[in-house]
Symmetry: C2
Subunit: 397 residues, 2 copies
């Protein structure tokens, strides 16, 4: 009995200290939270009820609630941008190099919110909360599957807007994110010009050009190539794991670069005892890496959600509903720092340069810094610290 | 009876005139021929019997047989490099802009031989002759399928060498080709240094770097993702058409560029009445193009042959069996003009620059001209005429 009381007391102390730690510094344990909207109507007019998304925060909200930075995640990412949920977690969040005390996104100054998107693909990651085709449709008691409405980047952003409103936040010091996160960032600056003070789209684009439309199509098609996809009706049955793994391999590869490939793998065989020339199944190390990356990432991913995110990305256009693209640019009031990756072949750096030029021409305030990375598109995540001082200066100016 | 005689006479006349025309100028009707080896032993020591490959020629062989240029084809290509088989043929061969009378590969001067490779993927194209997994294994009376031996680029080249020997040709004025054709070109220069006088590898590479290994792996994996592939045992059954079509879509896309995509398709919908935002199945025009390109090319292609060609390309390394890569470079006696494409992301132009530098350092004679194309890898085919005067000058010097 006495032991039990001590145990409870310890748990309470741990809980309080964890909470306090979370409040003051992200690099203590991170806590996942959930935001729910009873009902949400998509841009295209379809109702989804309810909508739930996960989010986490780093740093402390100022009394005036005027120190908020919103971080939006990439296609295959989650809201876990920094820190760890538990000391035992192997790696911290994906942008940990730039989010933290004294870091460019300084948790001693800013209150950083990072959210899961609508239709996040990692539906099997216990730390992800999202609403999408794998969610239960309350009307039927079964997963939506392909009956889930088509969603857009703007839908993701509108839900994030409802989240910050629910927290009493009216202004965002900055919105940022990499890849699909950079895409959301530009959608934010366009749709909520009076909320967003600064925007840092990283490896993002103001609209999906034909090249991006083509690539995301390939990722969706890979899922549908697997007969187990079964027109999206696979929940509770065998899932299209091979199609999903192929899709994630394809995403992994186009987001990289030959410099990365050569320095990491060269022509090394996967198994020194199995010469790739000796048998069809003997692989090079890079082949083995891709197979393992695809299969590993597939464990937490949902095929239909990949298809929905591909569609959302293909549809992306800040001009949608605001007249022309040029009209959309004129809406943007935020100061924008755009950060393309030097070696990106999925969203080429010249796209960012053209955007910055067009925004400045439209009366906006855009600057550009090319991340000097040889890692390709993913350099916007893996090498983000190379833009650290530029980000810091931009936020402070 | 009289009518029949006239008909025969006409056929004979047509046949003779066609032959004469072929002898003097490729841009008359092109005739497909077949070369057969009763038995061939692969580099890895496996016997294939017989081996047959198709070839076609443009121009006239000089009495001394010293005006020969060999053209090797790309991954998804065939020996049909120039001219037409019939006036009714829609398009001429793929390099028709540079092969012909007065053109850089001048059929008034040179006798040009273009061959189908071993394991050509277009086994259902009636104008292609090749030996590969879709060929009948005389030992079993059934297609080889995945029991066909692993082959390499060097195997392709060795068979081409047997072909030219059979024609009494001992020297090649030049070997050339685009992509896998450029790869064969460099293998020729390395393996037969006393035969090749000049070499023009276009969008080629002396070895498959990890990046190329990764991409060809994706193409092979797409075929194998289709359950109808059935470990290669599908002949006479339902074939893995969807996997093959996906593979050819993937090849089409990585061989292109964002500039091509944007200028050809922009954000146009496939059907103006079907807004891509309105339904999951409503496509953009570039999606429709890729689907049709994949399905169209799949009609003539064999899945297993794609897998074998992917392996051959992944294994490519001029250094194989010759000591190191540097040792292989020292073997090359041909003057080399390497022609990368400015916007190539499958085989980046810097690969060609590094090769040219390494060859010159090894005592060779290499020059480089970057094809000023915005079409990506495929610019080495579609925009080859932009290197026309460079090719002409190189052949004449």
């Amino acid at each position: 009995m006495k032991r039990k009381r001590i145990f409870i007391a310890l748990v309470v102390i741990l809980f309080i200290s964890a909470s306090v730690a979370v409040a003051f510094s992200y690099d203590e344990l991170v806590v996942k939270k959930t935001f729910e909207l009873k009902e949400y109507t998509t841009v295209s007019g379809k109702k989804i009820a309810p909508v739930r998304i996960g989010y986490e925060t780093y740093g402390k909200l100022s009394p005036k609630k005027d120190n908020v930075i919103l971080v939006c995640h990439h296609f295959s990412g989650t809201s876990h941008a920094a820190g760890k949920y538990a000391a035992s977690e192997k790696l911290p969040g994906y942008w940990d190099t730039v989010i933290g005390p004294g870091k460019p996104f300084d948790t001693d100054k800013y209150f950083i919110i990072s959210t899961d998107t609508l239709c996040n693909i990692n539906t099997k990651d216990p730390m992800v909360t999202t609403t999408g085709p794998a969610s239960i449709n309350p009307a039927t008691g079964k997963p939506y599957g392909m009956s889930f409405p088509v969603i857009t980047i703007r839908d993701m952003v509108r839900i994030q807007y409802e989240l910050i409103k629910s927290l009493g936040i009216n202004k965002l010091k900055c919105v940022t994110g990499a890849s699909m996160g950079g895409i959301q960032t530009l959608e934010w600056a366009t749709s909520y010009p009076d909320v967003v003070e600064k925007a840092i789209p990283v490896i993002g684009t103001p609209k999906a050009y034909a090249w991006t439309v083509a690539w995301v199509k390939m990722w969706a098609d890979a899922v549908m190539l697997d007969p187990k996809w079964n027109n999206g009706d696979y929940y509770g049955k065998e899932e299209p794991v091979d199609g999903v793994a192929y899709s994630l391999k394809a995403i992994t590869l186009i987001a990289r670069s030959p410099w990365w490939a050569e320095s990491a793998f060269n022509r090394k065989p996967a198994d020194p005892k199995k010469d790739p020339a000796a048998a069809m199944n003997n692989k090079y190390l890079i082949e083995d890496y891709l197979d393992k990356a695809g299969a590993g990432r597939a464990k937490s991913a949902d095929g239909n959600s990949i298809i929905y995110l591909c569609k959302a990305n293909a549809l992306h256009d800040i001009g949608f509903g605001y007249g022309s693209y040029e009209d959309a640019l004129k809406r943007i009031k935020a100061k924008v720092l755009t950060l393309p990756s030097k070696t990106d072949i999925l969203i080429y750096p010249y796209n960012s340069a053209e955007f910055a030029e067009a925004l400045n021409k439209a009366g906006g305030d855009a600057s550009l810094f090319e991340i000097p990375t040889f890692e390709g598109h993913i350099g916007g995540i893996s090498d983000i610290q190379k833009a650290g001082s530029t980000i810091k200066a931009f936020l402070e100016k």
